[in-house]
Structures are given as C-alpha cells and as structure tokens.
Symmetry: none
Subunit: 402 residues, 2 copies
C-alpha cells in the first residue's frame, strides 16, 4: 500500500452514511468540429446540471496526464488504488472478466486460438475470429488436463479468446509469452525468466504441445498462443482500507471481476441502466458504498457514434432523480476514462466529475460538461483522490495527526 | 528529507529580504445555507481584498484532498515539511505544547488522570475533568520518580491531562499504550513491541503501578492512562534548509512548540492579535522570516459560531495595514486547515491563500475568499509548496541545474 492508503486505513471509521459512486464508462469526450461541443455538452442533462450546481466539480486524471488507461487502471484509481503500484496482469483480467473464481496460487494466462500453416508459422493470430460456440467447443477439448501435477483449466471467453489457468504446486509467474504478436513467425517457446519459474515454463510448453496435437483437425483454430501470465494481485480490500461494506452493480463481467478484486460484494442485476437502478434501490439498506457501472457510453465511443453517446447521456440524466430520491450522503458521478467518439477508443483526456454532499464546498459550476468542470472547486486532480474525498464528505474519516 | 527539501536546501541563499507568514488558524469555512456564503465571503475585508488584488491567490491542501489535518501536520506542511514523512507523536506534541524542553533521547507520553472502580475497571477516562489546580497538585505527587535509572518528569497540561517524560539510558519508544480508549475495561499493561523496548515497557509499567498507589485517596483521579510514546523528531531546522533566521509569534503554547521543533526562535508576545503585531514591529529588524499565528478563528469554528468567525476576520483585516506598512518583501496570508462553523471542527476543505510580493505574477482575483481564490494563479496546490513559493518571491532561491 502506498502512504496515502496507509493513512486512510488508520483514520477510516465505520458510519451509517452512504456513498454512491456512479461510473459512466468512457464519460469524457471531444468536441464535434461542426459544433465545437463535446457529447456531454451537447446532451440536455438538467438533472446532472442541478447536481453540478449543488455539488463540487472537477476533472480527474485516471493514471496521469497523457496516459490512456485500460479498464482495470481506470477503475482501480477510482476505488483509491494507485494503478501504477497495483497492476493487474492480462491473464488475471481475462479470468476475473468471465467471473472465473481464481484461487490463491493460480497462474492465469490470456489465450488466443490462432492459425498456423504447415511450416508452423502463424498466419492469423485470431483464427479468423471463430464463433463463440466454436470457442466453447474447443475449450472443452483442452480443459482439465493434468501435466506434472498441475491441472490446467481452460474457460472460454469469446470468439478466439480463452483463459488458461494453471493450478498446482511449485509454479511461479515469471515466464515469457508464447504469442509472437505478429504473423509470419512461429509461436515462441515459453522460457523461465528465473529458476523458480522453470516448472511453470515446462508445464505451459507441455500444454501448448498437447493443444497443437488436439487442434490439428480444427483449422483455422489449429493452435494456441498464451501471454500475460499473472496471479491474483491480493489487493487489500475496500473493507480493510475504508471500513466500508461495499457493493457493486455492473452488468458486464469485467467490471464485476474488478469489483471482486477489491472485495466488493457483486449484486445480481439486469443489463439496462434501469435494472441497475432497481438493484440499487432494492439493496440500498444493506450496504454503505455502491459502485454502479454504466457501460453503453463507452461502446458508443468505440463505435465513433457521437449522437448515440449524446442520447445515452440524456437517458442516464433522466434516471438521476431515482438516485437523488434515495438521498445518499455522497454522490459521485464520473467515468473511468474518456472515450471520445472522434477517437473511436479510450483516450487520455481527463474525466469530468461531480461530487455532491451536504458538506462539500460548492463552486460556481452550474453545468455538467468537460469545459464547465474546468473552473470547478476540485480543479484537475488524480482519480485516486476520489475515494478520500468521498469518504471525507461522508464524515467517515477522522483527523490525521494531533 | 524528501526530494523537494533537498533541492531547496541546495539552492537557498541568505539575503536581507523578509518574509511574513500569517497563519489564521482554521481559516477556511463552508457556506451558511441561508446565504450561500462562507464566513470569509461574508466578512467585509477591504485590506485583504486589496492584498489579494495585488498578489497571487489559490487554495492549498495541508496533507491531501479529503484528509482533515490536526494542528501539527497543518503547520508542518506550511513550514515546508511533508506532514506524512514527518509525523509527530502525541506525547511529544503534549510536551512541546507546554513549552517543555525535550532533550535528545527523552521519550514522552500523553497522560490522562482517569477513574477506576474497585475492580480496577476504567469508569471515566478523564476523571471528571479535574481542575487545573488539582492537575498541578497530582502531577507534583508523581513528578521526579527514579525507576531503574530512568527519571520520570510529570508536567501538568490542563484538566485531566499531563505529559510523562522518561529520561535515561536504554529506552526505546516502540511500546503499546495503556489507555484502552474505552470504559468498562482495565487499563492495558504496556508491552514492548520489539526487544529493544523492553526496559521502556517495564519502567512505564512501574510508573503506572506507583501512580495507582499514590493516587488511591484522590478519587475521581485515582489512576493514570498513557499513550502516544514518542521522541523529539529531530527535524532539520528551517535555518538549515532555507538559510533563514526565523522567528515565531504565537500566543498558544502548542504553536510555539511546533515552531521550536523546526528551529524558530519563539518571541515573547501577548494574547491579542494586536499584541502579536506589536511584537512583529518590535522585532522586525532582527529576523528575515516571521511566522505569526492567529488562533481565535479556529476556536470560533469549533464552537460552531459563524458570526464570531466573521467578526474575527474583520478584526484581523483592520490590522493588515500595520503589516503592509512594514513593507515585507513577501506576505503570505493563509491557514493551517479549515474549521467551518457548520462542521464545528477541523475539516478537509482546502485553505485560501494570498501570496504578495513585488515579484509575484498577479492573477485576476480581487477578493479574499474560498470561491474567489479558486481561479487564482496558484490553483489548488499542496501546502508544502508555500515555503518554496515564498522563498522564490523573496529572491532567496538560486537556479536549479545549469
């Protein structure tokens, strides 16, 4: 843990106050050159504007200015974990993203089905993006093998993607990848990067040899590539750090998985924004911290669909009164990163944020958008400060030092 | 020392220019819901507004956003010391707060007189808040004992509070507290947290046994509790770091003690704001740095007295011309933390600040208040940057790097 988390852990106290953290995935945007306005500026959001007026606003950097975050660092930062100190390997992320129950000691790798030619050279790293059904069928062929006392579990993810989980004694994660990351060359042999990892390397190579033999009749998916060998990061939980009883409401498995990594209880919910708000209402009495994840704005950004993002923000805005009616002590509305339609992908731009509580010191911001948040009272700040601020405003932190 | 202090130490140069740092304890506030204005916004402060207009403004975080600082971290940060790296134990703070002259090697604990019942269980951790006179009388009974070659000094603080200073060879501070922090249980035995501290634990337990026997007829103050064993932090002095000749003007012992910890010379002064300004004028020729501490706004905040805070700010404002007449090269007006009347205590909210010098780059702020400082040229910044900025504006720092 870094210094700030250590301090928070010392001064956090349990209390009946409630915090709701609304994460609108990919919230931040860029202006449409025709209008000069971002998606959020274009959207008509009277309820968010009202919340911005009563609350304190700002723009946060998930990792650091200029750094485009993936979903894991973007969310870890919002939960208060420095995303540079706490890095989550690709294998682990793939496993938690499908609700796979990683056990202590498990080593997980991200797997691809791929195509190799008769000389063993990779011709397609994604095996023509096989169907989900085919992925399930192939994973069943590979699942459950035992090599040198190590059981290898192979749950499907989707299309060409799967996870490979190695469970057994004497494993270490310091091994190289087999994925060459380009075509025209053979898959690489996995090598141990230190002596402790030699068993891991030989078991992984054994698994690949066996997979190649098993898949020989399954062209284009006639080989596998592995990368990102990693272990459950064993993060200190949010209950340990913040003395909270936290719950997550998210319809996508990746975000449920991230919430589980920090010790949140993951609630059953539906796929629509409305379902998530219903779940919040039904469980409101039982927890004091809620992480509510709203996905569609990110997808629309990745698709480059400016107008769809505008509509999603407006739809979200119309549900905000359902939240304010619950009267949480602290409401935070923000995103895990920006996904501007103009860039069709995640970006480095800071993310607008509203923090509302009875004890915030309101600024003069009266609108929720990137430019409107700029002169806000929170200024521009690292996303890891969101949780300390939310905790303080919920009166869940005592004084530091005498 | 952290990196920034190391750099400052390398580039600091002595010069005849003068810096005055005015610390208005608990300066920052929160709006009165009736008017939407904070204490400082409500106060009529034409002189501070003029200084804000000529100077550069901003809002500082004493420790970090969301963290409510005690007096020690709030002041250390203003003096340029990272309050997370330099933590001062409760025992030391109690001792320096009564002008007790701690010597190297002394170990100090915070003491309470408390009440125990016939079974030895604590029934009141504060012994009914005995009078200051009683406190002095009881401390005299306990003071000066010698156990295993260790002299135990017991200066009174006030009411039920005292300090216990252990002076002798072979002591280490890693021992547990005896204070159980709740009633209905017995005081805890002090235990060594590492082998080097075993003598300290046994001497402290011996002191407590002796105290219990001595106090048996002094119900409700018939027992003592100790906590926060700590040692003089041996901070690098402000002269070493900044090449300054610094003086402190403060009417409360706690702040005089903190100033001494960083090597300031503490000047004799009276209890009114006017007395402190007179002391400043009388000693103006003899030092190049003045820390002037103004206490009453914090007390009014703790009392929840919004209107008294407004009046104190106005009273302070009326004396500001006395300061500007002296024409210091740099004037900083700020606080060590916020104490909003609405919260009746210290809070995490950032603290407004004016820095005036001939060499500051003025912004467009024309009023001294929390919202007015938001768009100021210093932005929102950690309080540890106040000293480097003051030093630079006093032309007391040379270039870093060639």
């Amino acid at each position: 843990m870094n210094n700030l988390l250590e301090i928070i852990k010392e001064i956090a106290i349990p209390s009946p106050t409630k915090i709701v953290l609304l994460v609108i995935d990919g919230l931040g945007g860029l202006p449409d050159p025709k209008t000069g306005k971002t998606e959020l500026e274009t959207a008509h959001t009277p309820n968010l504007d009202r919340l911005a007026t009563k609350g304190i606003c700002g723009l946060s950097d998930p990792v650091a200015p200029g750094i485009t975050p993936g979903s894991a660092p973007g969310h870890l930062a919002l939960f208060g974990y420095d995303p540079v100190s706490f890095q989550i390997g690709r294998g682990v992320l793939e496993a938690v993203g499908i609700d796979f129950d990683l056990q202590p000691g498990d080593i997980a790798a991200r797997g691809n089905f791929c195509t190799i030619d008769k000389d063993g050279l990779v011709t397609d790293r994604r095996a023509g993006r096989v169907s989900n059904e085919k992925c399930i069928e192939l994973c069943q062929l590979l699942d459950g093998q035992l090599i040198d006392g190590v059981r290898i579990l192979v749950p499907p993810v989707r299309e060409h993607r799967f996870a490979a989980i190695f469970r057994g004694q004497g494993l270490a994660l310091e091994v190289s990848d087999s994925d060459p990351l380009r075509v025209g060359v053979a898959p690489k042999s996995i090598t141990a990067l230190n002596p402790e990892a030699s068993k891991m390397a030989s078991v992984a190579n054994g698994f690949i040899t066996h997979a190649r033999a098993t898949l020989t009749e399954h062209y284009p998916a006639n080989m596998v590539l592995l990368r990102g060998f990693s272990q459950h990061p064993q993060l200190p939980t949010m209950s340990e750090i913040y003395q909270l009883k936290p719950a997550a409401i998210a319809s996508y498995p990746m975000y449920r998985g991230l919430a589980k990594l920090v010790g949140m209880e993951v609630l059953k919910t539906g796929t629509a924004i409305e379902d998530e708000f219903t779940t919040l209402k039904q469980n409101y009495a039982n927890y004091d911290f809620f992480f509510l994840h709203i996905k569609p704005a990110d997808n629309a950004g990745e698709d480059g669909d400016f107008d769809r993002r505008v509509k999603i923000f407006e739809q979200f805005d119309s549900i905000v009164p359902e939240l304010t009616k619950l009267e949480p002590d602290v409401i935070v509305v923000t995103g895990d990163h920006s996904t501007p339609a103009m860039l069709k992908g995640h970006s480095w731009h800071p993310v607008p944020l509203i923090l509302y509580s009875k004890w915030c010191r309101p600024d003069r911001v009266t609108e929720f958008s990137e430019p409107a948040c700029l002169p806000g009272g929170l200024g521009r700040f690292p996303a890891t400060q969101v949780m300390p601020l939310a905790m303080a405003n919920a009166l869940k932190l005592t004084k530091f030092g005498a």
